[in-house]
């Protein structure tokens, strides 16, 4: 029987011990009328060999196009040791480390992870992960409302330069607690959130201001000014950051005079494959003063009865299994395995490697924008890219161009036309350190060809 080790003798012996005539008898407390599921919709069992072949065929269907898509999920080199280690059975098949003494491996790893995330973001404490970047922002908003003792507001200032999907998710999760988002517009020329646009909200009461750095367009926000404005107005500052970019960019803990209050983001760039969108992991760091408002698991270092250092889950009084309806969040299972990968990843890169990656991402985005904007009809929407993404505008509808590129094996970026109509026929493109000169050239040539075809088609039609 697949995965079931019982021999006929085992079963007979066990039933005898139970004084039961059949296994089915063990289900005799289920009302007879309810019992029995035919599972007609579940196909018969396949052997591993057959499943392997099926999945290999499905995978082959999806191919391996050259990817210039970003928008929240980024292709990076993942060192081979990362998943060699994360796939080890002792990490892969362990539960949440409830029995600390039998889980020191996972616990020490999480402690190291927390330390690294604090280091990266310049904050004092980190949790052990949230589901993903989008839901982490939702949790950050909920947390800010709880944590901001100086405010009674359930309103959060949300710039339009924040990833629109994140805003959707934050809304899905926070709206049920009557938390509202005040949308803040951006500067059309610069593609960022001018502190002036906040001035309008001066005397009003808000729990928090969200700032994404680099923002959804790949541009850099004036984080220092924005943070200072927030603090001057009793508003907590939630930073949404790309962890790779932090090798180059000001740590949120150093934003403005006092630093951000809550920092969150998507951990995927740290060793987690694109993989159709998950499992990724959300990270969250904050000041020590807010630690009891933080959602999620936290690991602490302590000592055993012999005084030797060891690690354990701590501050569990915030959590659902202890505090139940009064917990800081309902989160329980989080993203341990992805965190394992990220911890190995960060250990391999270190500050120096991360900086090399970040610098390459910055440069590659510049190179990409330069190359694409040499194609007739393509223009940058704003200035040069702030990190690895940028918005371009085309002289024609974006969707057919992307479809034509896809047919040539190139994922050309994200069509922004619906989400940001004010930008016109806009396209968000991305290049990370994985892209070579040849890749960028291939995209530019394909785009030129597609634009040219369009031109010819248009001429033909005229």
């Amino acid at each position: 029987m697949p995965f079931i080790p019982h021999t006929p003798e085992d079963v007979a012996g066990m039933l005898a011990t139970l004084g039961a005539a059949s296994i089915d008898e063990l289900f005799d407390e289920i009302p007879a009328g309810l019992k029995g599921a035919r599972l007609a919709g579940v196909p018969p069992a396949l052997s591993e060999m057959e499943v392997a072949r099926l999945l290999a065929e499905r995978a082959a269907q999806d191919g391996r196009p050259l990817c210039f898509l970003g928008a929240g999920a980024y292709e990076h080199h993942i060192p081979a040791p990362v998943w060699a280690i994360a796939s080890r059975g002792e990490f892969y098949s362990a539960y949440t480390p409830y029995q600390a003494e039998a889980s020191q491996g996972t616990l020490q790893l999480i402690y190291e992870y927390q330390s690294m995330m604090c280091g990266l973001t310049g904050m004092e404490v980190s949790n052990a992960s949230l589901y993903d970047g989008a839901s982490a922002l939702a949790e950050a908003c909920l947390m800010a409302v709880r944590a901001n003792r100086g405010s009674n507001s359930r309103r959060v200032l949300m710039p339009r330069t924040v990833n629109p999907t994140y805003v959707q998710v934050a809304r899905s999760i926070a709206a049920n607690q009557n938390i509202a988002f005040e949308i803040v517009d951006f500067d059309r020329a610069l593609g960022r959130t001018p502190v002036e646009s906040l001035r309008a909200y001066g005397g009003e009461d808000f729990a928090a201001l969200v700032v994404q750095q680099p923002n959804f367009f790949g541009n850099l926000e004036e984080v220092h000014e924005l943070t200072d404005w927030a603090h001057q107005n009793n508003v907590l500052l939630i930073g949404v950051v790309n962890p790779i970019s932090l090798a180059l960019l000001s740590a949120p803990g150093q934003w403005g005079g006092r630093g951000a209050d809550i920092v969150c983001g998507e951990g995927q760039p740290l060793g987690v494959p694109l993989a159709s969108g998950g499992p990724y992991f959300g990270f969250m760091t904050t000041r020590m003063q807010y630690v009891r408002q933080m959602p999620g698991r936290i690991v602490g270092r302590t000592v055993d009865i012999e005084g030797r250092p060891g690690f354990t889950l701590t501050l569990q009084a915030r959590e659902q299994h202890i505090r139940r309806s009064k917990a800081t969040s309902n989160i329980c299972t989080n993203q341990g395995l992805a965190v394992t990968a990220a911890t190995v990843h960060l250990s391999l890169l270190g500050a120096q490697g991360l900086e090399r990656v970040a610098q390459a991402c910055l440069q590659r985005a510049h190179d990409l924008v330069d190359a694409l904007c040499r194609v007739p009809g393509v223009k940058p929407a704003f200035g040069p890219p702030g990190f690895h993404e940028a918005v371009l505008t085309l002289d024609r509808p974006v969707a057919p161009v992307l479809a034509a590129l896809a047919a040539r094996g190139i994922l050309g970026g994200l069509d922004l036309t619906e989400r940001y109509p004010e930008l016109g026929q806009a396209l968000l493109v991305c290049a990370t350190e994985t892209k070579t000169d040849a890749d960028i050239r291939a995209y530019a040539e394909a785009l030129a060809a597609v634009q040219g075809e369009g031109l010819r088609a248009a001429r033909g039609a005229a």
């Binding site: 995965f3 080790p5 066990m14 011990t17 407390e29 289920i30 309810l34 919709g41 069992a45 396949l46 499943v51 392997a52 099926l54 290999a56 269907q61 929240g72 292709e75 280690i85 059975g89 990490f91 362990a94 539960y95 409830y98 003494e101 039998a102 889980s103 020191q104 491996g105 020490q108 330390s115 690294m116 990266l120 980190s126 993903d132 999907t165 959707q168 899905s172 220092h224 740590a251 694109l274 993989a275 159709s276 969108g277 998950g278 990724y280 055993d304 501050l315 569990q316 659902q320 505090r323 309806s325 309902n330 989160i331 341990g336 911890t343 890169l349 270190g350 440069q363 994922l411 350190e433």
Partner: protein, 491 residues
């Protein structure tokens, strides 16, 4: 210098300035792109500077300090620690699957989407539901989706007053926490001495303020709620909906379907029943299934099928949806693993899961009873799990459930869940799962008997346990008082 222990320094202690794993750095790219000075990072982040061998050795050694399914029997109640087939990981790690960008066009996703579509369909059939969404990223988020749909349903019917969620005392902590997170208030109701819901209390609680009830059946007491149809009637009659916490689906797979019991919505912990890994704390996947009434409210995206092609169903297709809960489409890779597992099990295999999970649980309960342990619900069948209460041992020998748990580690077994559900004193919630062999259950019984003997004859062994782990018993109080949550370089 001490002999070898399993002690391992914190990775920062291996760090030396100038050391690195340089092959992992990308080649330098020519160019002049720069971050404006005022937005540039002032000092490099505190990260370790170590060699690749140091990284591999450090984390390999750390891994060896874990108990896991691959190394130990792990009867952690309510957690369904069963074998995670290796092939699920191998196949989900095919380069094309790993490399697929979540926003890739549907033309570059037919293979992946076919798997997701079929998974939705299978989960519908298993639960007796009408629609399934795979986006919730763990059980608790599935619960959130479920309660949010219940709220949306009432709102759509103009029933704005329904904001109370009934939760039995035995419920998992995520249930009440979810209700709160969803802006609802929580009304706890007791269970009776047999572990069933107190129907009178339920009747008293149900009313025009009732949004719904959250129930897991079998409950976390390890017993099947026999009057489930009555429960459903009471709640439905009061205008509320029924939420099924499907974390424990392993207990009833192929035996009875939540939809048939009268539930309107269910979340499933694919990372339990469908054997995707726990990874030391995730990832999970908390797919939700709904009956007809809640169909319009399912969280997006869903995978639809039209004319032999698969496509994403989004806001436009589902304007009443409770919306998005994740940046893309949930924990896709976990769903893929669950899909693979389900194809391996097939129909027959799936039915066997509950049968052998129940056989193992009932057998182990019986044997532990025979060894002198007290079952919390001795008159009841165990489901896939059962509770032992040590209140007698606590009284007679001053040992706690925690002592027994820690001592079990020395015998080479992961401990059962302790102190949950909260309403049973000094409890151990024991879930052997179907993938463990009879001999291992027998060995576990032997260990429990040996510990029982120690209670009377060598109680110090228990209170000071564990003795053979990389650390002895840890000081949790100190951990919470003298917070040390991140490594700091020696000043």
């Amino acid at each position: 210098m001490a002999e070898l222990g399993l002690r391992e320094p914190v990775i920062f202690e291996l760090s030396r300035p100038g050391r690195h794993a340089g092959t992992q750095f990308p080649p330098r790219v020519a160019g002049t792109a720069q971050v404006p000075a005022h937005l540039r990072r002032a000092a490099p982040p505190l990260l370790p500077a170590v060699s690749e061998l140091q990284v591999v050795r450090h984390f390999t050694r750390l891994s060896q300090m874990n108990f896991s399914i691959d190394t130990h029997f792990y009867p952690l109640g309510s957690c369904t620690m069963k074998y995670n087939p290796k092939v699920c990981h191998t196949l989900a790690s095919l380069p094309e699957f790993l490399g697929r960008h979540p926003l890739a066009p549907e033309s570059q996703g037919q293979g992946f989407m076919a798997c997701m579509y079929e998974l939705q369909e299978m989960l519908k059939d298993i639960t007796g539901m009408q629609g399934v969404s795979l986006t919730p990223m763990a059980g608790a988020q599935g619960e959130y989706a479920g309660v949010a749909m219940i709220r949306a349903y009432h709102r759509a019917h103009g029933d704005l007053a329904r904001s109370e969620i009934i939760v039995p005392q035995a419920a998992h902590g995520t249930n009440p926490a979810t209700a709160t997170m969803c802006g609802c208030s929580v009304r706890e109701i007791p269970c009776d001495a047999n572990g069933d819901v107190d129907l009178d209390a339920l009747r008293a609680a149900a009313g025009p303020q009732t949004a719904g009830i959250m129930l897991t059946n079998p409950s976390t007491l390890g017993v099947f709620e026999r009057r489930i149809e009555e429960v459903a009637r009471i709640v439905h009659d009061a205008g509320g909906l029924l939420y099924y916490d499907g974390a424990n689906l392993n207990a009833i797979l192929g035996k009875v379907r939540p939809g048939d019991m009268g539930f309107d919505v269910i979340h499933m912990n694919l990372h339990k029943t469908f054997s995707t890994p726990h990874g030391g704390g995730g990832p999970g996947s908390g797919a939700v299934g709904v009956g007809a009434r809640l169909l319009p409210f399912l969280p997006i995206p869903l995978v639809g099928r039209e004319g032999g092609r698969y496509r994403w169903l989004t806001e436009k297709d589902a304007p009443q949806s409770i919306g998005r809960l994740s940046g893309f489409a949930g924990n896709a890779g976990v769903n893929l693993r669950a899909y693979i597992y389900m194809r391996l099990l097939g129909r027959e295999g799936m039915i066997r899961v509950a049968e052998y999970a129940a056989l193992n649980a009932n057998y182990l309960m019986k044997r532990l009873q025979a060894a002198g342990f007290e079952a919390a619900y001795p008159g009841r069948r165990a489901s896939h799990e059962f509770i032992i209460t040590l209140k007698r041992e606590n009284r007679d020998h001053d040992v706690t459930a925690m002592d027994v748990a820690k001592r079990l580690l020395d015998y080479g077994f992961h401990a059962p869940t302790t102190y949950f559900p909260l309403l049973v004193p000094e409890c151990l919630l024991i879930e052997p799962t179907e993938t463990e062999a009879k001999e291992d259950l027998d060995r576990f019984c032997e260990a429990m008997s040996a510990i029982r003997h120690e209670m009377a004859h060598d109680p110090g062994k228990l209170s000071a346990a564990p003795h053979t782990m990389p650390v002895r018993r840890l000081d949790d109080v100190r951990a919470a008082k003298q917070l040390d949550l991140a490594w700091k370089p020696a000043a």
